[in-house]
């Protein structure tokens, strides 16, 4: 696990403070991690995303802290997924998409001219809303990322490590040659997580990873996220406020606003420790949303 030696953004690294996940009770995780304690891995400064001439999200600034889980919540169309996809340049793949402002990763602008998006995605992995294993065996699903990253020879140990890390090994160790598509939805999603962590990224982005899963599978993924946060930095977009409250250390609340020309834009309303967002939000709109008054 690489540590940030050139922390960027507003928060300075503090060597004496542990950046490991809170030891117990992860509901009050935010309380255990005082603001500014963890190293900032990524930082967004005044980030706006345009699709053609349409500005989907405007002026987002927030840090992503190391070994913490940052949740992005908000009503549909508030731009939370758009912002998430801008963190590993997945928006590049959409014709006409443009990102302004700065997204830094360990102090480097990931949109700089000399930055290869492939290297960005290699370090900032992503898990998607719908489980999307490749139509290959379980083994090959995990090995795929290793192979494209030039890891040669025996991959068995790497595959086992990744599947163990995704809490899937015991369920699949006897059927590694079976197609990944033969697994249940929750297992498929954990396979996708295994595939992502196999290449040992630094940050894992999760775009509503549980929205297609039943409650039991969801709770397994949530437990897994807690385990993963010991080694990885996680950013999760979720529609489920309880999920954000349960799993995250920090929460960013987005909403959609209509401007003077009657065009909707996504906007970051508030970013704070999760405990504060859910108990004592600083903004009226956040309070209305989390108490269920809209959205």
């Amino acid at each position: 696990m690489p540590t940030a030696n050139t922390p960027a953004g507003t928060v300075t690294s503090h060597p004496s403070v542990s950046v490991s996940a809170p030891s117990a009770g992860w509901n009050d995780a935010g309380v255990d991690t005082p603001d500014g304690a963890a190293t900032t891995v990524m930082n967004l400064a005044d980030v706006s995303v345009h699709y053609g001439s349409y500005e989907a999200v405007r002026g987002t600034s927030m840090p992503i802290r190391q070994n913490q889980i940052t949740a992005m919540i908000g009503p549909s169309g508030c731009g939370k997924s758009t912002i998430l996809r801008s963190l590993n340049r997945m928006n590049d793949l959409i014709a006409g998409a443009r990102v302004t402002g700065s997204v830094t990763y360990h102090g480097q602008d990931i949109y700089a001219k000399d930055v290869d998006p492939i290297q960005v995605r290699r370090r900032i992995g992503m898990v998607f809303q719908k489980p999307n294993p490749f139509p290959k065996s379980i083994y090959d699903n995990v090995a795929y990322g290793l192979r494209i990253n030039g890891i040669k020879g025996k991959l068995d140990d790497h595959v086992e490590e990744a599947l163990t890390g995704a809490a899937l090994w015991d369920e699949v160790k006897d059927k590694l040659k079976t197609s990944g598509l033969a697994l249940s939805g929750g297992q498929q999603q954990r396979l996708c997580i295994a595939r992502t962590i196999a290449v040992k990224p630094d940050v894992i982005l999760m775009d509503e990873p549980c929205s297609a899963l039943d409650p039991i599978a969801t709770s397994k993924i949530e437990d897994l996220m807690y385990e993963l946060s010991k080694s990885y930095t996680i950013v999760i977009v979720t529609h489920n406020m309880q999920q954000a409250a349960r799993v995250s250390h920090y929460t960013a609340f987005f909403t959609a606003e209509v401007d003077e020309k009657q065009v909707r834009h996504g906007r970051l309303v508030e970013f704070d420790q999760t405990s504060r967002i859910f108990t004592n939000p600083g903004d009226k709109r956040t309070e209305d949303y989390i108490t269920g008054r809209f959205g």
Partner: protein, 330 residues
């Protein structure tokens, strides 16, 4: 209070409605009928051609498919009808065509679906489709008048490079003229490229964006994404496209008849003239009578049989690959 059923007159009717049922039944009869029609036509073709070819099969027996000599008018003795040389010609020209056309077609299809800028896509598709609209006799004439004379020097050059090398020296042997197996294969390659390309394009278009995103999010380059996400999804479709191309190549008649050289020849040297089953039929049918005609129709039966066998084999491969993809043991 006890629950009582509604009185019959107030119950909503769940009985089938007359009109809908009738239309449904008509629809199923219509689809069944058209399905059976295809089978019927196939069976009729098979029965009548076999019947017409029967005298030749009886005369030659198994030698019809194992004998390489085809001599309808021998100086003395009975005519000999051996299809083996033509079966070989059909196989080898089609194989050359596929070896060239499949990689090219997949490349074009990938370019159109994955790489080409949007405004280039439309015109690229049009150009490829235009290629399919060229009549095959035009391809044949172009092959025999333009391509063959140009290629003969190229063939000689290739022969000089490989002469003396085992195997390759035999395959790329002496070239007497530009009309040979190789030129026929090249012309066929051009002819089957549009159909393989357009099916591959459709197939690649059905690969879920989610799968491509998954590969790219792992840090895959575009090529790695294509290998990891596009190809596994497209295996069945690509095989289907190749089979359609193969069917076209094996059955192509007039273009091949013009460029293949027209000699009964079973040779590993691709630069020698030869003949294919379809080409022989079109060249000789007009001048044939009796058993000779039967023997030519027999070529059609053999061609039909080969095509069916190849298609069945391909279906098996695809079914097994897809079962593996969905959840069987890899």
């Amino acid at each position: 209070m006890t629950l009582t059923e509604n009185k019959p007159e107030t119950r909503p009717s769940l009985a089938p409605q007359k009109g809908g049922l009738l239309a449904d039944r008509a629809f199923s009869w219509w689809t069944l009928g058209t399905g059976l029609l295809v089978l019927g036509i196939l069976a009729l073709i098979l029965i009548t051609t076999v019947r017409e070819a029967w005298p030749a099969f009886v005369e030659m027996g198994f030698r019809y498919v194992t004998e390489r000599t085809w001599d309808p008018n021998p100086a003395e003795g009975a005519p000999i009808f051996g299809a083996l040389s033509f079966m070989y010609g059909t196989a080898v020209t089609s194989l050359i065509a596929l070896l060239i056309a499949v990689p090219v077609s997949i490349g074009i299809a990938l370019f159109i679906t994955e790489l080409a800028p949007r405004r280039l896509r439309g015109s690229a598709i049009t150009v490829i489709d235009l290629l399919a609209a060229v009549p095959s006799v035009v391809f044949g004439l172009w092959g025999v008048l333009v391509l063959a004379p140009i290629l003969v020097d190229f063939y000689r050059g290739v022969h000089d490079v490989f002469s003396g090398v085992p195997v390759l020296g035999t395959i790329f042997g002496e070239a007497a003229s530009g009309r040979n197996f190789m030129t026929a294969g090249l012309i066929l390659a051009i002819m089957v490229t549009p159909i393989i390309t357009s099916i591959c394009r459709e197939v690649f278009g059905t690969v879920p964006q989610a799968d491509k995103d998954a590969a790219l999010a792992l840090g895959a380059t575009r090529w790695e994404m294509i290998r990891g996400a596009v190809f596994p999804h497209s295996f069945g479709g690509i095989t289907g496209a190749v089979m359609l191309g193969l069917g076209r190549a094996m059955g192509e008649t007039i273009a091949v008849a013009l460029v293949v050289g027209g000699s009964t020849n079973l040779s590993a040297n691709l630069f020698e003239p030869g003949n294919t089953m379809a080409a022989v039929i079109v060249q000789q049918f007009g001048e044939s009578t009796g058993t000779y005609t039967a023997a030519l129709i027999g070529l059609g039966v053999v061609l039909f049989g080969m095509t069916v066998l190849i298609n069945l084999a391909a279906q098996r491969i695809v079914r097994r690959a897809e079962a593996r993809m969905r959840g069987g043991v890899a």
